[in-house]
Symmetry: C2
DNA sequence: TCTTTACACTCTAGGCCTAATATGTAAATA
DNA sequence: TATTTACATATTAGGCCTAGAGTGTAAAGA
């Protein structure tokens, strides 16, 4: 049983569900919550409107599931990137933040406030929870590397480094027009922060 | 002659003008451009509405002058902080970014889009020009210090460091609830970036 | 001369209504 | 069983109008 509800879900249905949620997220991101119609989402997913209602009883439920799906995808890919031990820390960090934030650059239409309002109303603390999960994973990755040792003399904690990276990534997300630009900018930031390692190794 | 127009302006009138512009900026920031009335600005500056019209012919002119005044104050204080040679680079950077961005934390009301629209419509490229000026000053300050030498082996330019600092500051501005929190967070960021100096000095 | 009071003009805010669109449900179909 | 067509309800968009507030100008006062 791969689903999470009481309803039996096949692997195929699960795949379809994810495709619907991905399509929904795209449409919601582009037009905002209110201006997005179920019909638009259905069309975008090659489906009739009522076929969509078979999967999600209400628009609110669809939105909530789409947000959860996106957060699950992002945080999953980000944590996976962070814990792939074969790569050096700086590359893992760049990939993780790209999955967490970079992938959402340039897909959002003008009405950001509507999306924010809907998210905070319908998804409650979900966003915060995933943020903390991601934040913890980054902190852990930093602690597990030799990176921290170099900064220890300055009295800077791994958590502080994480917060700085988060702030930099958020700032870059706003000023970057493309995902590639974001990655390039963040790679520079990580390189700067990782200098102590290389200098001491 | 301290003014910039053809009209003769005394030092006193200039001081008054600045007080008006400061008051205007506060009101505009809190309520946005459209929702702000000339009456509100005048009251906030202890003045009648028509007294205000003697100084600024239209609301648009007032807004433009207020934005210019704010940018002038911020960039002036920031550049002054950057070039006060007595302090180490990290402290100068923290003060400069605090003047440039930190001072505007928490003074803005909910309608940011209105302010952004008005600024880009009425102030044209003014904001970009001051941003470049500040950016250049930061880059210059970094170049003039021993900071860059430590990073030279990594192939990172002073301009890239500046961009990283700018991104971090913008991200912190969004996530910080108070100016003090912003300064603390940015101090950590600068400390991290300045580690190479201390390690090598 | 600088500031305030008084006045015409403009514009936005809100109520109301209609048309249209969107949501959610039930029956029909492959 | 999974999907589509048909339908009732709810919500929103736009037009129109009035009331009120806001802008900019001209005359009066300190």
């Amino acid at each position: 049983m791969s689903g999470k509800g009481a309803k039996q879900t096949s692997a195929l249905a699960d795949t379809r569900r994810r495709a619907l949620l991905d399509a929904a997220l795209t449409v919601f991101s582009r037009y905002g919550y209110k201006k997005t119609s179920m019909d638009e989402v259905a069309r975008s997913a090659q489906l009739s409107r009522q076929g969509l209602y078979l999967h999600f009883a209400t628009k609110e439920e669809l939105f909530q599931a789409a947000v959860r799906n996106a957060l699950e995808n992002s945080s999953g890919a980000a944590v996976a990137a962070l814990t792939s031990a074969s790569l050096p820390l700086d590359q893992r960090l760049v990939r993780a933040f790209d999955e967490w934030l970079g992938r959402y650059i340039g897909i959002m239409g003008g009405d950001a406030s509507d999306l924010i309002e809907a998210t905070s109303r319908l998804s409650g603390t979900m966003l915060t929870q995933y943020e903390e999960m991601f934040s913890d994973a980054v902190t852990k990755a930093i602690r597990s590397s030799r990176f921290l040792a170099a900064s220890k003399s300055s009295g800077i904690t791994a958590r502080q480094i994480t917060n700085t990276l988060l702030a930099t990534a958020r700032g870059l997300k706003h000023s970057s027009k493309s995902r590639e630009q974001f990655v390039r900018g963040f790679a520079v930031a990580v390189k700067l922060l990782c200098n102590p390692i290389r200098e001491h190794s």
